[in-house]
């Protein structure tokens, strides 16, 4: 396998043209998903997580327009591709678990048939064997008594059960890329653990890549390899999971972490994030976190967002180096390494996005090591 990532979202901006104005839903968003890794996309609702996923699947609403950048699946462009080509990809190559399982299922078809439909369209199942393959898919997501459940209609099943049906459907054709939009919200912790184990096993065993959209930071920390933090349509921070959670660089990531209840925190220790997401229809400052940020500098109002990368290479975490400011920050605001020394060996610098394992942040005043601790 060459080093072409499974999914590449490069400098993408998306607008929605609505009656009440143009919503700048995404701006300069870049991230990649490689084979066998789970990438977590985290942020508040309205931060553009689902829009990114829809764009990656090529199923944006008609009002949504990709105004800039490139989305590619294994090197093949998704934006601008023909619908027929996309249909060949969906299901077999990439598939998606949607939010709200009840509305994602067809209410007047039994769940076994719905999974069978997917298998016959994309998975090469025949008239003879689709039923047993659908039942096997149900068994894989630990649905008890799958043969009986396959005959049930969605309304006869609980929310958690419908959720697992959607997951079974997405995994039925063994996709290479799985996009999971809040796959475990509303599930019990025990079922959630089982589902996440299943996804992690598939990634390990088959080299499936997964993009996990969630607002549960603990879940992301436990199951993902890398994290992409979004806020109001911007990617504000990306990095390997341990580094990002141990030393968040962006003030938004830090406050998200501080707001999350955890076993060793009391109610006084958790802090809320002041303010709300900005209105994406109005003219926006270069940094969309500006109004909620307590570390804002005067430069934040003036200059476009910088792209910074953690100063040291991987493996030298003890000696956390200084952040290198991007010297040419106005060049499309693309996430780039600051200077050659910070790029992983082989990186050409300048042209390519940073090495995926680097910890990058887009902020003029990121948290330094001593503050993050």
């Amino acid at each position: 396998m060459s080093n072409v990532p499974l999914l590449e979202v490069d400098d993408v901006s998306i607008e929605f043209r609505t009656r009440s104005g143009v919503v700048k839903a995404l701006e300069d968003v870049s991230f990649t998903v490689a084979k066998g890794e789970i990438v977590g996309l985290v942020g508040e609702s309205g931060s553009g997580k689902s829009v990114s996923a829809y764009a990656a699947m090529g199923i944006l609403d008609a009002a949504g327009v990709v105004t800039k950048g490139r989305i590619a699946y294994q090197g093949m462009a998704i934006n601008g591709a023909k619908e027929r080509d996309l249909q060949a990809l969906r299901g077999r190559e990439m598939s998606m678990i949607f939010q709200s399982p009840r509305t994602a299922l067809n209410p007047i078809r039994t769940v076994g048939r719905q999974i069978g439909d997917v298998l016959r369209r994309h998975g090469g199942a025949t008239r003879q064997n689709w039923r047993e393959r659908a039942i096997a898919a149900l068994a894989q997501v630990r649905i008890p008594d799958p043969a009986r459940r396959a005959e049930a209609y969605p309304f006869e099943l609980s929310g958690g059960m419908c959720q697992r049906i959607c997951i079974a459907m997405a995994l039925a054709c063994e996709p290479k890329l799985l996009i999971a939009d809040e796959p475990t919200t509303g599930l019990d912790v025990t079922t959630q653990a089982a589902i996440m184990d299943l996804i992690a096993n598939l990634c390990r065993a088959r080299g499936m890549g997964a993009l996990l959209i969630t607002h549960d930071l603990h879940l992301a920390a436990e199951s993902c390899d890398r994290i992409v933090v979004m806020h109001a349509g911007h990617v504000v921070e990306t990095g390997p999971v341990q580094a990002l959670f141990a030393r968040p660089l962006h003030p938004y990531t830090a406050s998200l972490l501080a707001a999350t209840p955890s076993p060793d925190r009391s109610l006084d220790d958790i802090g809320a994030i002041p303010g709300n997401l900005p209105d994406l229809r109005a003219p926006l400052p270069p940094c969309r976190y500006r109004t909620r940020c307590q570390r804002a500098l005067e430069v934040c109002d003036r200059e476009p967002l910088p792209a910074l990368v953690e100063g040291k290479k991987e493996g030298t975490q003890g000696a956390f180096g200084p952040l290198h400011p991007q010297p040419t920050a106005n060049a499309a605001g693309q996430l780039r390494s600051g200077d050659g020394s910070a790029v992983a060996p082989g990186g050409t610098g300048g042209q390519n996005p940073p090495h995926p394992n680097h910890h990058t942040v887009r902020c003029w005043n990121p948290l330094r090591t001593e503050e993050a601790a």
Partner: protein, 335 residues
């Protein structure tokens, strides 16, 4: 001090299938046998108390009877057997249909799950908060308006938002309207059914702090239903763990989380993302048994339990005290 709420041997059984009442009667007369009717044990012999000003957490998987228990406690459905005593009065004898007109309706209030869907889309925030005051306390005019404004202020809802409809409010604001609606009639017991599960973490923190403050200011008791154990730990003094209609474990929150006695509680705690349980993660296989006609002489957790033995299949576990206020229903409880 007497407990605010005392629940004794509360049971809810739903009869399933078997056709109509007349059909069953006819069949019985014709065949001269009593036809077996499957019975679903949603809540089975549950007893606990809530002290004034106390916050009790109720956790368990979906389908374990949490919601059935809650609907009985707030008297929206009638128990099959058992007693609910509220401030010393037996309220389980009043049919659910009539309870809405008693004074206790205002003293037991619920904050429902999902603030996005539990508000009437055609009511403004003001109407939503005013509704229980109009109905239960026959307030109107100036007094009503003053009370609504006071309640809104208490939950941190700006005055200017009172005229808005739900679709014009954010998730956090809707949650505040819901809480204001519930506390307007000044309840003694507030039942919170997953109040923050539909909210973002950033908003969740604010709402949890608000709930904690309200409890101290107004001296209410909480029954906090949730499956987010991290949230339960933050807000609750005691925790009750339910499994398949039965109480699996009940005790002070700190003790239950640090020294769980029941294997199910251990599995639940170990499934919390980010938690590092003592003794490594415990993963449960399969799903709970069916709540229909459960074997009365077996542990409900048997078959899924990592330490289950033959004894568990033949004898229902007794209640094993683990501390002054801590106990569990398990033969092999860790003491």
């Amino acid at each position: 001090m007497a407990p605010l709420l005392e629940v004794e041997h509360l049971t809810k059984i739903y009869s399933l299938g078997g056709g109509t009442k007349a059909g069953r009667w006819l069949k019985q007369r014709l065949t001269n046998t009593v036809p077996h009717q499957p019975r679903l044990h949603a809540v089975d012999d549950v007893s606990f108390t809530i002290e004034p000003g106390e916050s009790l957490g109720l956790v368990g998987e979906s389908g374990c009877g949490k919601s059935t228990l809650v609907t009985m406690l707030v008297r929206l459905s009638d128990p099959t057997a058992g007693v609910i005593r509220f401030e010393g009065r037996d309220i389980s004898a009043i049919p659910a249909k009539r309870f809405g007109r008693t004074a206790d309706r205002g003293r037991i209030q619920v904050v429902f799950q999902d603030p996005h869907e539990s508000l009437n889309p055609r009511h403004t925030a003001f109407d939503v908060i005013a509704e229980p005051l109009r109905r239960l306390q026959a307030m109107n005019g100036k007094a009503l308006e003053a009370k609504v404004r006071e309640t809104a202020e208490r939950v941190g809802l700006p005055d200017t938002l009172l005229g808005r409809f739900p679709h014009q409010l954010s998730g956090g604001q809707k949650a505040r309207v819901n809480i204001a609606r519930a506390i307007a009639p000044e309840p003694r017991l507030l039942v919170l059914d997953e109040p923050t599960s539909a909210l973002d973490v950033s908003v969740q923190a604010v709402i949890l702090k608000l709930l904690d403050r309200l409890r101290r200011e107004l001296g209410m008791s909480y029954l906090f239903v949730s499956h987010d154990l991290n949230v339960v730990r933050l807000l609750c003094d005691r925790v009750m763990v339910m499994y398949l209609g039965r109480v699996a474990e009940l005790g002070p929150a700190h003790d239950v989380f640090t020294e769980p006695g029941h294997p199910y509680t251990r599995a639940l705690i170990s499934a919390i993302p980010g938690a590092a349980p003592p003794g490594g993660p415990v993963r449960l296989e399969g799903d709970p048994k069916s709540p229909i006609d459960p074997d009365p002489n077996a542990c409900r957790f048997h078959g899924r339990c990592p330490i289950g033995k033959e004894l568990c299949a033949g004898t229902a576990p007794p209640w094993v005290p683990l501390g002054p206020a801590h106990g569990t229903a398990c033969h092999f409880a860790r003491r």
